[in-house]
């Protein structure tokens, strides 16, 4: 199956239940700074809260203790396997 829900393929540890992970922020796409205060306020408090695909980070707290990045559909919690990536370094 290429689609998982609430199970995450950790590139280092394998498929694990979502409870093994901490949810990180949904990265905001860098915007052109027009008014630094307003942008900062928006980043701090306002949310796109997308109904659909989001790219987000999860920390595998019960395993390798590293961040991974994946794409999830917030309408269904589908996580297409191919979208998961491990941090470079």
């Amino acid at each position: 199956m290429t689609v998982r829900r609430l199970r995450i393929q950790c590139p280092h540890c394998g498929v694990r239940a979502i409870e093994e992970f901490l949810h990180g922020e949904i990265p905001t796409i860098p915007e052109r700074v027009v008014d630094p205060d307003a942008r900062d306020l928006d980043r701090a408090f306002m949310h796109t809260n997308a109904e659909g695909l989001v790219t987000e980070r999860w920390f595998h707290a019960m395993g390798c203790r590293r961040w991974l990045t994946l794409t999830r559909d917030t309408r269904t919690n589908d996580i297409p396997e191919r979208t998961t990536s491990y941090p470079p370094s």
């Binding site: 829900r5 609430l6 239940a17 979502i18 409870e19 901490l22 949810h23 949904i26 306020l41 928006d42 701090a44 408090f45 306002m46 949310h47 796109t48 809260n49 109904e51 989001v54 987000e56 999830r72 917030t74 309408r75 269904t76 919690n77």
Partner: protein, 403 residues
Amino acid sequence: MNEFVERLVDLRWPDHVRPSYDVVIIGGGGHGLATAYYLATRHGITNVAVIEKGYIGSGNSGRNTTIIRANYGIPEAVRFYQHSLEMYGQLEQETGRDLMHATKGLLWIAHSEAGVRQERARAEINTAFGSRTEYVDVKTISEICPQLDMTGQGVWPIYGASYHPAGASARHDRVVWAYAEGAMRLGVHVHQRTTVTGFLRDGDRVTGVQTTAGPIGGGLVVSAVGGHVTTLASMVGLRLPIRTHQLQAFVTNRYAQAFGPIVASSGLGVYVSQTAKGEMLVGAEVDRAPAYAYDSGHSFLRSCAFRSIALLPFLRDLRVLRQWTGVCDMSTDYSPVMGFTGVPNLLVTTGWGTWGFKAIPAGGEQMAALIATGRTPPLIAPFALERFANDRTMADRGSAGTH
């Protein structure tokens, strides 16, 4: 024949959609309908439409755990929810409908010294602002709820609790219907199965909504939608401090009324009550990752069943009947957002997260007052959207992650 069949409410649906209304309210849940009801009953404003994409009460109003309480952690919230709790106490009389309102008392259990401090603090601030909550010791807890395992299975021993005698519940659907009926009787139009697809604009100004039933003009437009509020707001370029999270719960089969109070535990992260039907109702905190999915999770059921048995061992042999999920509009500071949005003629009532049901009467009444007078009533002024820009967030430990 059963005692739960609705025999009083009479819903009179409109047979047409007017081209425009003085006020268009998006969202036929408790908050939207209560706002319409109070506009009609308190301010004589009846040229009002409530637009609902499903059926009334099909969102979070019909998916919550029906708990009414006012034991919050900051003065502004205690005042607001206490007012709402008192309005609930009068609502059956006012509407003439049987809302199955029952005062049960709510125990909030502490399992550690830190928990004791928190529950003592809750009692202090509640008492100071007119909401009765007292700190109670283990002996009193046993008397209030003899089914509690005071040892917490040897893992989560009970140290003490705050007790909120006014904690209550009511049947969620009946609250929705009573407001809908009352509003419609005075001429408010409630349009079910009508989805808002966009806004009508005149420059910056919002002049109405585009819907699956065609354009509908509105002098003022009020968003009273739940989990999908940011998607709606984005149609006018408005960003809100809201994230949408799933909240799950389950009930057991019905058992005889033998369980009086509502029991909550921050340490175990569960709350348990009994419905009027006799079902045991168990809920927990929201799921962590934002989501709009209505799937019910197994890990929730498993973990929540496990933790609730630690608190109330008799639950072990009860049978799970049904699980469900709502999608909740959680604000950044865990407090509601009510009032003007910065977009002319668009108002919002949101951020109800997991505590919207208990706020329906006060939220509706205060929003109606705001709409009718154009001025924000003092009770909800602290919950205005501009608090985020003004560095006046309403961080409330008494509300975070609970019911």
